[in-house]
């Protein structure tokens, strides 16, 4: 059972430190490459190569290089049974553990939307075509399930923490970080591994295309002429620890998770309430949880999918709640990585804090007259940041916001 820290008092909650982070995404392998891509405002969306897109409207996505995935890592990483997203998780966790050697989580909370879906697709196609061996079929089934990439990553580094895998659609990654934060904050846990992962799959790609939520053009978050999202993939991990415990251990503290808000918008299964009430409730919840005022937020990493509905609702909520705060969505650069997005964008927010810059909202041409937002258009900018907020919203009306603050040395 979790250790009980001295600070289980709700009036005096424990503070939560980020002691390490790891990331694999279309922006790069690791924090260093990711930072470079962000600073250079690199467009990492490319034509889809993983499956045929002849009959879809959208033909691009943010993709993690298979060649690099195959090259990276030890022989066990190249095991045939491992899903490629498990490899991403392993690399992200490896990077995080290099910063916090010996970190033993009591719990892992990780978000995803579709687990190893491509294994399910391979299984079904093999079944229909009668071309699949029983051995391969069994391997696909065992490794298709959403908890497997998390357990594969844990196994690689000898971790055995119970895995809570959150599937709250596109809010999953932020929900995972938020729930992990609350677990430590309550004093019931000292160390929790949090993160998110997802890989491109044909089923999900065609699904978004069928809804006309994805775009045949460029992804232009918050642009007046935005036409939809492009999908992405990746994995990111944050190692969270009770701040006092981390300090006592002499661990480097990268930042502090300050607040978390969650809401459920019951308007529609796939569309937000146009008033932005669900988004606003999540952001207000995070501010309340962190005990801070809206004017203390220096940057908002928006969900910003570039769908007309999301950006209108989210933009309205941000504009109502914050007065001219710099806003960007980084999805134009790398696509929407669904269950991984919240974790990846939390790492991007962390990099922004550590390096004092504002990540860019690329492909931005025209401001939307209905949205009074201070968009960081097209190029990254130097900034003076102490506190940032990151949003994730998803199908099913799941909304989540997390606040990260720099820690005074």
């Amino acid at each position: 059972m979790p250790e009980i820290s001295p600070s289980t008092d709700r009036l005096n909650p424990a503070r939560v430190a980020i002691v390490a982070a790891g990331i694999v995404s279309p922006l790069g392998f690791g924090l260093h490459e990711t930072l470079g891509s962000l600073r250079e405002s690199r467009d990492c969306v490319t034509p889809v190569t993983r499956f045929a897109v002849d009959h879809t409207r959208c033909k691009t996505a943010g993709q993690v290089s298979d060649e690099r995935l195959a090259r990276a890592g030890e022989p066990q990483l190249r095991s045939e049974r491992l899903h490629r997203v498990a490899r991403m998780m392993i690399l992200a966790l490896e990077e995080a553990l290099e910063q916090a050697p010996g970190f033993q989580p009591q719990l892992s909370v990780v978000g995803t939307t579709s687990g190893g879906m491509t294994f399910g697709e391979e299984y079904y196609r093999g079944l229909k075509g009668g071309r699949i061996s029983r051995r391969r079929a069994a391997s696909l089934i065992a490794n298709y399930t959403p908890q497997k990439p998390v357990m594969d990553a844990q196994e690689t580094f000898g971790l055995t923490a119970p895995c809570q895998v959150i599937a709250n659609a596109c809010a999953s990654g932020t929900n995972a970080i938020g729930h992990a934060f609350e677990c430590i904050r309550s004093g019931h846990y000292q160390r929790v591994l949090a993160g998110g992962y997802d890989a491109l799959s044909e089923l999900v790609f065609v699904g978004f295309d069928s809804l006309q939520a994805s775009t045949p053009e460029r992804c232009r978050p918050f642009d007046r002429e935005r036409t939809g999202l492009v999908l992405g993939e990746g994995a990111a991990i944050l190692l969270l620890e009770n701040l006092e415990s981390a300090r006592a251990r002499g661990v480097t503290i990268l930042a502090e998770v300050l607040g978390y808000g969650i809401s459920t918008d019951n308007h529609h299964l796939t569309q937000p309430n146009p008033s932005g009430s669900g988004a606003r409730q999540a952001m207000e919840g995070a501010l309340h949880s962190g005990g801070i005022k809206p004017q203390e937020i220096d940057y908002v990493n928006a969900h910003g999918t570039a769908t007309p509905f999301n950006d209108a609702a989210e933009g309205k909520a941000i504009a109502e709640l914050f007065d001219g705060v710099p806003v960007s969505s980084t999805k134009g650069m790398m696509g929407h990585s669904l269950g991984a997005a919240g974790a990846i964008e939390a790492v991007i927010s962390l990099l922004a804090l550590q390096n004092q810059f504002l990540p860019p909202n690329i492909n931005f041409r025209h401001g939307d007259a209905d949205l009074n937002l201070n968009i960081i258009a097209n190029e990254s900018q130097a900034g003076s940041l102490r506190t940032v907020l990151s949003n994730s919203f998803g199908f099913g009306g799941t909304n989540a916001s997390v606040i990260i603050r720099a820690v005074d040395s």
Partner: protein, 369 residues
């Protein structure tokens, strides 16, 4: 932190309603096996939920196009609230969280959606089906019907996911200003799942399921939902949850189960173990844990009567444990080393042991307060 069980809801192949299903189990009834046919003529045995079990599903717009899993969940969730005498309004819903447990999720629509892509190409893909394939669609429907606008989480995992959901509920109750948390586990069955579990060598070709039988002959899939409404106190309490651990290989499952048992039995031995044994490798893993940690306990393996419902199964076990304490009766649906039968003394504590099919192990203890 202990949690009170204020209400429960049960949708199973033996019907719906906690008392109805429990009485059938006490009477020694076993679900009737039906069969389900795959597109190439393969036939699989299955324990399906009878249509009348979801007759009480509300005529809500959210359920108009939803899959069976959502209807199972809604019926079980509403029944748990009714059992507790709770009616949600704006004020009470704001102090209620929802945690949903699922393993395979909306597999019927997922298969149908992908089938259209494979057979007819991307242009044939239905925008109506896709949203229902998302893991959290059933939770979203239930939240909308109940008016829950705060915390709602869907967890995915193997058979242990229900215990992980209860653990998450415990953590939410520790962090939020909540009065209650509704935990629901649900699953729907389909030939595709049967095919997958058969290729994984876990499925039996015909009934029965023989928990703890030697050698293990396999399981039969079932479907349905279980719901538990948690409050801060009630006559029935979950007084300890072990979020568990993971095993790498099936042969190592026993050690993980023993770890969970030793955590749950550290302070008090349980009078009853509600096991997850289902006619697979799980049985042997649990046999060792029970023998080492609770040698005197009676053992109830409900999957012999209800089938393996994966994402719903550990909620079903929890309900069975609670009903054993509530009624002081235990169904004789399985045998374990000749220990079947009613307990000789009062049942004060029941241990729910869950070993999943895909590496997750967890458990909890239910007690009378």
């Amino acid at each position: 932190m202990s949690l009170g069980i204020a209400g429960m809801g049960w949708v199973t192949p033996l019907g719906s309603g906690v008392d109805t299903v429990w009485n059938r189990l006490l009477n020694g009834e076993v679900s009737s096996a039906g069969s389900i046919e795959g597109p190439m003529g393969q036939v699989y045995p299955i324990y399906a939920v009878p249509a009348e079990a979801t007759a009480k599903a509300p005529a809500h717009p959210r359920l108009r196009r939803s899959s069976a899993i959502s209807r199972f969940a809604v019926v079980a969730g509403l029944a748990a609230l009714e059992d507790a005498g709770v009616t949600l309004n704006d004020e009470t819903a704001a102090r209620t969280a929802l945690v949903f447990a699922v393993s395979n999720g909306g597999v019927v629509y997922t298969k149908k959606f992908y089938h259209e892509i494979v057979e007819s190409g991307a242009k044939a893909a239905s925008p109506l089906l896709f949203p229902e394939t998302v893991f959290n669609a059933p939770a979203s429907h239930l939240a909308a019907i109940l008016g829950i606008a705060g915390a709602s989480y869907t967890l995915v995992g193997d058979g242990a996911v229900g215990i992980l959901a209860l653990k998450m509920a415990e953590d939410l109750m520790a962090s939020h200003a909540l009065d209650r948390c509704l935990v629901v586990g649900a699953e729907e069955a389909d030939w595709l799942l049967c095919d997958a579990y058969r290729k994984w060598r876990l499925l039996r070709s015909a009934p029965p399921i023989e928990p703890f039988g030697r050698p293990p002959r396999g399981m039969i899939l079932s479907e349905g939902a279980g719901a538990v409404l948690l409050t801060r106190s009630a006559a029935l309490q979950i007084d300890k949850i072990a979020a568990g651990t993971n095993f790498r290989k099936q042969s190592e499952a026993g050690a993980s189960v023993q770890e969970v048992f030793s955590e749950l039995c550290r302070e008090n031995e349980s009078d009853l173990v509600v096991a997850s044994a289902n006619g697979t490798f799980i049985d042997e893993a649990e046999r060792g844990g029970i023998a080492a940690a609770c040698p005197g306990a009676k053992v109830l393996a409900v999957k012999g009567a209800l089938g393996e419902s994966v994402g719903a199964s550990s909620l079903w076990q929890t309900i069975a444990a609670a009903q054993s304490l509530r009624t002081q009766q235990v169904p004789q649906v399985s045998s374990f080393s000749g220990e079947a039968g009613p307990p000789s003394g009062k049942i004060r504590r029941a241990l729910v042991s869950v070993c999943g099919l895909n590496q997750q192990v967890a458990g909890l203890r239910v007690a009378l307060s």
